[in-house]
Subunit: 233 residues, 2 copies
DNA sequence: GTCTATAGGCGGATAGAC
DNA sequence: GTCTATCCGCCTATAGAC
């Protein structure tokens, strides 16, 4: 209890605030220069501190990067969870669309953080295992939707060719042992395809191709729901 | 005719060779450091020339980057076209799968060039219009497949909600006026979704999730063919 | 926790000689 | 076309004083 908010010393509070300020400024630089060029010195300069002082908060550039990645995954995961909860009284298919739109909205609002977690890997940087739980949050929202549908008997079993059967069972055992492997396999594909749609929009591949992107995306997301086995009632 | 290969002077030939060497070395650096950190100096150092000499071939770092981007788009487009031709005597649905697999193979063989054209945009760089024709090549291979199917009456009209109808007609008029807008719309979505699958694999999002990626991809690509309106006969 | 100073690099781009 | 020299900037990271 000595570490609870109320009992926190001024020192500890200051540390948290400075840490947050560093991450905020670093996020700003992400936009201007990209993750590959994220520089502790530039962050320090902008914050009016010396670069060496920053090393007391983040022992290296990569640690700062890791913190930003975890924050981004959590921010996206949180947005998806909130959308899921907000659509709690609708059917799974509708919930799917709402969560997809939340993912898209988040990505459009945070393009550089989106690039950080779903864009090209940062050369020379390998994400530590700490990022995995945060990264899994969005995915598990979609698993939850499938589970809802399964409970309500609103989950179809998509077709599955014989050569994919072993892999399907392996994935289902890993991700959602309570769901049919056919549906889990279809979900994984739909998950990647969803981020294909979002990535193309965020990274500008739809420029001069798709104009009414909102309507286009809504329709595509609904088709993905079908592909994942969700039944519109 | 004075610029034809046979009549080319030693000077011109040397220029072409050096230009190619520069681009090759730059592609190597793309892998090591990423596009954001592509450095004319480092390329020159590795080639045993001075940095200033390089400016005679590429007036700036961004021009070198543009050349690499165009090359990458053309390389991918060429791979797709070759796969298309090779499958000329099969049905459109089969041809679709073959081209999808060619795209995936190319991406896995050239991950850094893939990142250059379909990954996060390079901060501070905006691609000139010169890249557009090269970028369109892959897309037009897919349009060609749809056209083949349309001629053979093997093209279904996917459903289209009313609010997407204007956009669908606009896209069809732009991309393929001879094809049904429903199919063109579905194709654009499938196109983005395909690159979502490929990108997730190339960028490592499938690590510890999908093991048998080839079988997984083949099945997903076939489902995309269906979504785009292709009928398996 | 913050500073100065320092080591030992790196970069883009240009001028002017040959 | 290639070189040297140069301008002016940038970076990660550490040591040691306060």
């Amino acid at each position: 209890m000595s570490t609870a908010q109320g009992a926190m010393g001024a020192r500890a509070r200051a540390r948290i605030e400075v840490t947050a300020a560093i991450k905020d400024e670093a996020r700003g630089q992400l936009a201007a220069e990209g993750a590959a060029k994220l520089s502790l010195r530039a962050v320090a300069r902008e914050l009016g501190m010396t670069s060496s002082a920053l090393y007391r908060y983040f022992p290296s550039r990569d640690d700062l990067l890791t913190a930003l990645i975890i924050d981004a995954y959590n921010s996206l995961g949180h947005a998806a969870e909130v959308a899921y909860e907000a659509a709690a009284d609708t059917g799974p298919a509708r919930r799917w669309t709402v969560v997809c739109e939340a993912v898209r909205d988040w990505a459009l609002a945070h393009p550089h953080e989106y690039a950080l977690i779903y864009g090209s890997p940062v050369p020379g940087y390998t994400a530590p295992q700490d990022t995995v739980p945060a990264a899994a949050r969005v995915a598990y929202v979609f698993v939850g939707i499938l589970r809802d549908a399964h409970r309500g008997a609103g989950l179809a079993k998509p077709a599955l060719p014989a050569d994919l059967r072993p892999e399907a069972h392996r994935m289902a055992a890993d991700l959602a042992p309570d769901l049919p492997p056919e549906a889990v396999t279809a979900l994984v594909a739909a998950w990647a395809e969803l981020f294909g749609l979002v990535g193309f929009e965020v990274f500008g591949q739809f420029n001069r191709v798709v104009e009414d992107r909102e309507a286009f995306f809504r329709h595509a997301a609904e088709r993905l729901a079908h592909a994942a086995g969700l039944v519109f009632s």
